[in-house]
């Protein structure tokens, strides 16, 4: 440190000195994984660029149709599974391997501390995944929407939504964090790979089978006060139907149970008379109103902020934060938070 | 390193290189301890020392003496070091003003705890033979009371003819004699230390 440095600059450099030292070492340590991720994502990007070149933009043609129905659709599906690849083959072995071989005993006793190592390692991969996901997502979106005028696409169709730039980044990061968590919690490589696969499959099912997702929304709706859209929801029996973040309630002034539309249709609908059931099917609002249920509409997030996006970002962020907290909980160590024992 | 064994009173020379000034020490005094109660060991130890003093002068920063350790002799390490210093002084290989090896060098070559060397050097200081200069090293300041080989032999013979033979005749065995001598030395040490502590009060 030269004497010309002002006091405010010097402490800052000292505080991050460990990072400047640590970063090149971690890049060296994980170069294989980092290169694999780069290779795969760049391969996907290259293929997408080739497809884009072939299709041109925008173009109405038989070729476009073929591309949309076959190539692009499949390709986008494969791209959607990149987070799974990242989770299982990059995230899980990241620390599980060092636990299995015992080298964690070396790493966790080094001067920099295990938390900084884990945090910096995760950050490096998150950064890489984000940087690589964006071009891929942008190209795929470009492809989708160049073709959309003829195919009536909108952003909320599954494959289109999940292959958008921010969703690709988000899901890759969550995949990575899931894998890392499994690796640190399970501490055995093969078992971590298996556990990560299971968790990723469960996540996918939850996301793509709307029933599960809607049940989660319902649970959140019950817990959160929903004030956007209508008057406060008071006691009554509710039948709830959803449209992503939008929830329609039909309620009565009765006991106060909240059931989802699927529950309504499986539990209550069969008990209705034929006339009632026809009325509910053809004109839900009127039919349910005839059953004594009043309509109420609400959204999880204010319509001013795009609810669907906010829902995803909300759920995604909560998941990501929960995963990070869990990772460091399982990691333990660096008992800096514990009070130092003062020498008497 | 040339190891020359002396057995009995004979000296056996092997392959002495006349261009190098090799000397060897013949230790006449008996140092022993009993490792097993069932047998007492009387042994003569020759401590050949690797005194690598080339004829055209040693390097100025190297101490003229390098220590050697006999791990199975039962003699405490620090005592061996002290003995080697005293021997070197007696035969004129170490002189007043010479520097003893640095503790770091000694422990690295012998793989012993630094405290052992410290203990030996401190004991040499207590005896008045060496003196430590912080930051510089430990230097020889005096020679141990010069006991010539003849005087040593004379004492030994007196001991054998005087006390030892009669003790053996009475029926003491080797182990008993050794223990008796040790006990006597300890008693003397104890009484002299109480004396000095009394004096210093």
């Amino acid at each position: 440190m030269t004497t010309t440095l002002s006091p405010t600059v010097a402490p800052l450099t000292i505080r991050t000195k460990w990072l400047a030292r640590l970063l090149p070492g971690l890049l060296r340590l994980h170069r294989t994984a980092l290169l694999s991720v780069a290779a795969i994502y760049l391969a996907f990007i290259s293929i997408a660029l080739i497809v884009l070149h072939q299709v041109g933009h925008p173009r109405v043609s038989i070729l476009a149709n073929q591309v949309f129905n076959a190539t692009l659709y499949n390709f986008a599906t494969y791209a959607e599974y990149l987070p799974v690849f990242v989770a299982v083959f990059i995230g899980a072995p990241l620390f599980a391997r060092s636990y299995e071989t015992g080298t964690f005993r070396f790493a966790w006793t080094q001067g920099v501390g295990r938390r900084r190592i884990v945090a910096t390692t995760i950050s490096i991969f998150v950064l890489e995944l984000t940087i690589l996901s964006f071009p891929l997502g942008i190209i795929l979106s470009r492809l989708w929407f160049d073709l959309s005028p003829q195919f009536a696409l909108n952003i909320w169709i599954d494959h289109v939504f999940f292959t958008s730039a921010w969703m690709m980044a988000f899901s890759s990061v969550i995949g990575l964090l899931t894998g890392v968590l499994m690796g640190i919690a399970v501490r055995r490589l093969l078992a971590a790979l298996a556990a990560t696969t299971v968790v990723m499959v469960v996540m996918f099912i939850w996301l793509t089978w709307t029933t599960f997702f809607h049940e989660t929304l319902l649970w959140v709706a019950k817990a959160m006060p929903i004030t956007y859209g209508g008057p406060a929801v008071i006691k009554g029996n509710y039948v709830a139907s959803y449209n992503f973040s939008f929830i329609n309630f039909f309620y009565t002034d009765k006991s106060g149970h909240l059931i989802s539309q699927s529950q309504f249709y499986s539990q209550i609908f069969p008990k209705l008379t034929r006339a009632q059931s026809i009325r509910v099917s053809d004109h839900p609002v009127a039919g349910l109103a005839r059953l004594g249920l009043k309509e109420w509409q609400g959204a999880l997030f204010h319509p001013r902020f795009h609810e669907v996006l906010m829902t995803w970002i909300g759920f995604g962020s909560v998941t990501a934060i929960a995963l990070v907290v869990a990772i460091f909980a399982f990691l333990g160590g660096n008992d800096r938070m514990l009070p130092r024992r003062r020498h008497p | 390193m040339l190891i020359i064994r002396c057995e009995g009173g004979e000296e056996v020379d092997e392959n002495l290189d006349s261009s190098r000034d090799y000397r060897f020490a013949y230790l006449a005094s008996q140092k022993f301890s009993t490792n097993h109660l069932s047998e007492a060991r009387h042994q003569r130890y020759s401590f050949p020392m690797e005194l690598d003093k080339a004829v055209n002068g040693a390097q100025s920063d190297q101490s003229p003496i390098r220590f050697r350790l006999n791990a199975s002799s039962g003699v405490p390490t620090y005592v061996q070091l002290i003995n080697q210093v005293e021997q070197a002084l007696r035969i004129g290989y170490l002189n007043v003003g010479d520097r003893l090896p640095r503790i770091k060098e000694v422990v690295e070559s012998l793989a012993i705890n630094p405290n052992t060397v410290l203990k030996a050097y401190k004991e040499l200081e207590t005896k008045g033979i060496a003196s430590g200069r912080p930051g510089v090293g430990t230097f020889i300041v005096a020679s141990p009371p010069a006991l010539s080989a003849e005087a040593f032999d004379k004492l030994r013979q007196e001991f054998i003819d005087g006390w030892l033979k009669s003790a053996l005749k009475v029926g003491l065995d080797h182990a008993d004699i050794i223990t008796l001598v040790q006990s006597a030395l300890e008693t003397l040490d104890h009484s002299s230390s109480t004396l000095t502590s009394q004096v210093s009060q």
């Binding site: 000195k17 460990w18 030292r21 640590l22 090149p24 070492g25 971690l26 060296r28 340590l29 391997r97 060092s98 071989t101 015992g102 080298t103 005993r105 070396f106 790493a107 966790w108 006793t109 080094q110 001067g111 920099v112 501390g113 190592i117 160590g333 660096n334 008992d335 800096r336 514990l338 130092r340 024992r341 003062r342 020498h343 | 009993t34 490792n35 097993h36 109660l37 069932s38 350790l69 791990a71 390490t77 503790i103 770091k104 422990v107 690295e108 070559s109 012998l110 793989a111 012993i112 705890n113 630094p114 052992t116 060397v117 182990a175 008993d176 223990t179 006990s183 030395l185 300890e186 104890h190």
Partner: protein
């Protein structure tokens, strides 16, 4: 700051077994401590606790008076080498040295490279292809390069040949002499310890049966040939007989005296090996009954 490691009533339980039971010991600064015990006695667990890889189930360990093992301050001062020295999952030896440098603020890179070259370890060699001895040496090299105040080694000598063992011990002693580094290492070979170690901790079945300065311990213990009863007579209430096996037969008994006794025709000095074997073999028994 007087003690390097202060262990107070530390116990460590795992799911099915208790590895350590109320261990208490003080390791002074600058000392060389040997942790001796049979396999499975709890040595590795205790060393892991000191390194901060485990936390005690009860009791406290503190490093340099007030640091918690595993805390950031302690990590900077303590270097730990696990058994068979596993090092990072890097590919080459050179990589491992670079990574170790990345993991530590104070790291003498050149000294590490020099030491590896002196030992004949090729920097381009794959870590996984190294022999057991070289792998251990690599781990030790990386630990020494951190110039730690406390060096914790788990059986560092077990995979080394006798020459390498002697060289390493000499080197460690040199470090001690130069920087006053505190060293604690576990060993289940007792022979070389007496020259090297200044302090001793004997672990048996998870308990520290002996913990103290070796010179003091050797001064307090004597050997007597006889039966246990005879040994008790000789100790005359001033000491306790340690070795209780085969109470009636003639055997070498180790007696621990409260105050070092004067030389006695019946008593012989004890070596570190005698001590260790006596304590580690010790089985308690009631007079008249056979030992368990």
């Amino acid at each position: 700051m007087t003690s390097a490691i202060q262990i107070e009533a530390v116990s460590r339980r795992f799911r099915r077994r208790t590895a350590l039971r109320s261990v208490t010991a003080t390791i002074p600064m600058g000392s060389v401590t040997a942790l001796v015990g049979s396999n499975g006695a709890g040595k590795t667990t205790l060393l892991n606790l000191m390194a901060g890889l485990l936390t005690p189930s009860s009791g406290t360990i503190s490093i340099f008076d007030n640091l918690i093992p595993g805390s950031m301050e302690a990590l900077g001062k303590v270097a730990y080498v696990a058994q068979d020295g596993p090092v990072s999952t890097s590919r080459s030896v050179g990589d491992a040295v670079h990574i170790a440098r990345a993991f530590n603020i104070s790291f003498d890179f050149d000294a590490a490279v020099l030491r590896l070259q002196r030992l004949g370890i090729d920097l381009k060699q794959r870590v996984s292809k190294l022999s057991g001895g070289h792998r251990a040496q690599l781990a030790i090299t990386l630990a020494l390069a951190r110039t730690p105040d406390l060096l914790v080694l788990d059986e560092p000598l077990s995979s080394l040949d006798p020459i390498a063992r002697r060289d390493l011990l000499g080197e460690l002693m040199g470090h001690c002499a130069e920087s006053g580094m505190t060293i604690i290492f576990s060993s289940h070979v007792i022979a070389e310890l007496e020259r090297i170690a200044s302090h001793l901790v004997l672990i048996k079945d998870g308990e520290a049966v002996v913990a103290g300065e070796i010179d003091e311990l050797l001064g307090q213990h004597r050997i007597f040939m006889g039966s246990v009863t005879e040994a008790e007579l000789v100790s005359n209430g001033e000491g306790s007989v340690i070795s209780q096996t085969h109470p009636v037969t003639l055997a070498a008994r180790v007696i621990r005296f409260d105050v070092p006794p004067l030389a006695n025709a019946l008593l012989a000095p004890a070596t570190l090996e005698d001590l260790a074997y006596a304590y580690l073999e010790h089985t308690s028994f009631v007079a008249g009954e056979l030992p368990k």
